[in-house]
């Protein structure tokens, strides 16, 4: 069980969660304290049959083969069979391998290996202007998860360290509310140092387009994504799009937290994990697709609701629509890549002001920037070991 991961070293292939302490309050299989106790018959039904367990076993073996010892075969496999990898990821990464696979597909593994000692420097020797803000939010991030509940416990301390390290690593971004949910999610599956580099990989764009614009002043990338999403709704569900306009629903009223936390805020955990599997491999597109799928599921109800009922409905989708095995196939049926590109150009045209765009909508970082010499920072000068800094230096 990921939540009880007490092995904070680099994650090893045969990731062993260690003994599971008996929690004082009932928690679900992800470590969240259960809200209602009524579900016990339901729980029993969820106990896996022998056949299911065998199928899981086969699946894990396949994944292990694909990854190789400690990830050694992964790149090779992806190059040879990208479609197989994509399909398997869409079916869900086995929970026991999730932490490692996330690091492999996000490119964070490479960053970690290229930058030995950097994380420790950031945590121990640097101070950040965001420290107070981070502290104020620490106990307010996944407050219902046992790993983060104990005051100054392991969960809270690692969360603080990762957020503080990032706020030093990129002082322009610092700490922004919402990052804690991203870092917290990662910490349930990997060590703090691994989680830190995964945040770096995402925000600086190791594999996909950089996402730091989600958190920069003015939240430029949030604004862009909301613009794109609003237009996608109009395109795929014109009646609903029209209804939103009439009711004066702005996409920010329901969608900003989807993008800011990549769905890690206030969605059921089984769905969150499946979205993250896909997000890390395929990119931000999945957030748009899931958003559209949610709208499609509830379309016929939504078009009838007036503003004051519409907003709550858009923030609390019915439980049965949040089942990943139902929602995700629907999400994949929206082919949005081309539309997203077009809408991004459209958005950029409308907002010619260059300040709002610098670094936020640029293409993914050139892979040579992942080169050791570039990412590695001298141990004494860790003022600004960021991609952007290096990029400027080179240009």
């Amino acid at each position: 069980m990921a939540a009880n991961n007490t092995d904070r070293g680099t994650s090893s292939f045969d990731f062993d969660p260690g003994p599971v302490p008996a929690p004082s309050r009932p928690v679900d299989r992800f470590g969240f304290v259960k809200q209602d106790q009524s579900g016990s018959p339901d729980e029993l039904a969820k106990c896996k049959s022998v056949a299911e367990q065998e199928r899981d076993g086969r699946r894990i073996r396949k994944w292990r083969k694909m990854i190789g010892v400690d990830g050694s075969d992964w790149k090779h496999y992806v190059r040879r069979k990208p479609q197989v990898v994509k399909r398997r990821i869409r079916m869900g990464i086995p929970d026991c391998l999730r932490g490692l696979v996330w690091q492999l597909i996000s490119g964070s593994r490479d960053l970690l290996l290229m930058n030995p000692g950097v994380y420790e420097q950031l945590v121990i020797y640097e101070t950040s202007a965001s420290e107070m803000d981070i502290i104020r939010d620490i106990s307010r991030t996944f407050p219902s998860h046992i790993f983060f509940q104990q005051r100054h416990g392991l969960g809270q301390r690692s969360l603080y360290n990762v957020l503080k390290a990032y706020s030093v690593y990129d002082r322009d971004v610092g700490y922004v509310q919402g990052m804690g949910f991203v870092a917290g999610l990662l910490l349930l599956y990997m060590s703090e140092e691994d989680a830190f580099w995964l945040v770096v990989a995402l925000l600086k764009g190791a594999v996909h387009a950089p996402m730091e614009g989600l958190y920069q002043v003015g939240l430029p990338l949030v604004q862009q994504y909301l613009f794109q999403f609003e237009h996608l709704v109009k395109e795929y569900m014109p009646q609903l799009g029209e209804h939103f306009s009439e009711e004066m629903i702005n996409p920010s009223m329901y969608g900003s937290q989807w993008f800011i936390t990549v769905f890690s805020y206030s969605f059921p955990f089984p769905l969150v994990l499946r979205i993250w599997d896909i997000f890390l491999y395929e990119g931000i597109k999945i957030v748009f697709q899931v958003g559209l799928a949610l709208m499609r599921c509830c379309h016929d109800d939504l078009v009838k609701l007036p503003f004051e009922k519409l907003v709550p409905a858009l923030r609390n989708f019915p439980k049965d629509t949040l089942n990943p095995n139902m929602l995700l196939p629907l999400a994949f049926s929206f082919k949005v890549s081309k539309h997203l590109d077009e809408l991004q150009h459209e958005y950029e045209k409308r907002n010619k002001d260059p300040i709002h765009h610098e670094g936020s909508t640029s293409k993914s970082v050139d892979h040579k920037l992942l080169d050791k010499s570039v990412m590695k920072t001298q141990s004494h000068d860790i003022e600004k070991p960021t991609f952007t800094q290096e990029k400027k230096d080179q240009g």
Binding site: R136, D137, R140, P143, Q177, L219, S256, Q257, F307, E308
Partner: protein
């Protein structure tokens, strides 16, 4: 804007203030009567609605609870634009949060609806031993700026219903839309609805 049909008023209310001041806790206390020691941070904004029965009107509040961090500033105008009421909250144990509250007051005075009913809430009043912002200072500031002021505690519920009810009472009452001479009814103490915590 507050809209009225007979004595039914619909009004949009926005909560503004520094992160951690207790905005979400105030709403949760008011709407659900609950308090959580570790209230989850608000990302983006949250929405609630609540109906209040006053002696002369039924007021339906649509409440937007915003994320308080400065970085989220660019999302705020959407929530206060068109709002007929605002609660600006600060934490009485945190001077910075009071400074932040003043900035919100300035911003609403410049950008908000000119008839907005605005309340200043000095929250966490239960933490008297850690107080950093004197009640007199906040009160004087509120008077100068035409706000009404209360110290509240989402934790003990002191003044929480009161501040929302007071806002509801101060909202402009039903008036024919095109009547320029329409008077705004003023509230009288007798209108105080069945809300309880008015004793602090």
């Amino acid at each position: 804007m507050a809209t009225a049909g007979n004595s039914n008023i619909n009004a949009k209310l926005v909560l503004l203030g520094d992160m951690g001041a207790g905005k979400s806790s105030l709403v949760l206390r008011f709407v659900k009567g609950q308090f959580l020691e570790f209230q989850e941070s608000t990302i983006g904004a949250a929405f609630f609605s609540q109906t209040l029965a006053l002696s002369d009107a039924t007021v339906k509040l649509e409440i937007w609870d915003t994320a308080g961090q400065e970085r989220y500033h660019s999302l705020a105008p959407m929530y206060y634009r068109g709002a007929s009421a605002a609660i600006i909250a600060y934490d009485i144990t945190n001077t910075e949060s009071f400074e932040r509250a003043k900035k919100w007051v300035d911003e609403l005075q410049k950008q908000g609806n000119p008839n907005m009913v605005t309340a200043l809430a000095g929250n966490k009043a239960d933490l008297e031993e850690n107080r950093k912002v004197a009640a007199e200072e906040a009160k004087a500031y509120a008077e100068v700026n035409g706000l009404f002021f209360m110290e509240t505690s989402a934790k003990t519920a002191v003044n929480v219903n009161d501040i929302f009810y007071e806002i509801a009472r101060r909202l402009p009452r039903a008036q024919p839309a095109q009547n320029p001479g329409g008077m705004i009814l003023t509230n009288t103490p007798s209108e105080i609805a069945q809300s309880s915590n008015c004793c602090s």
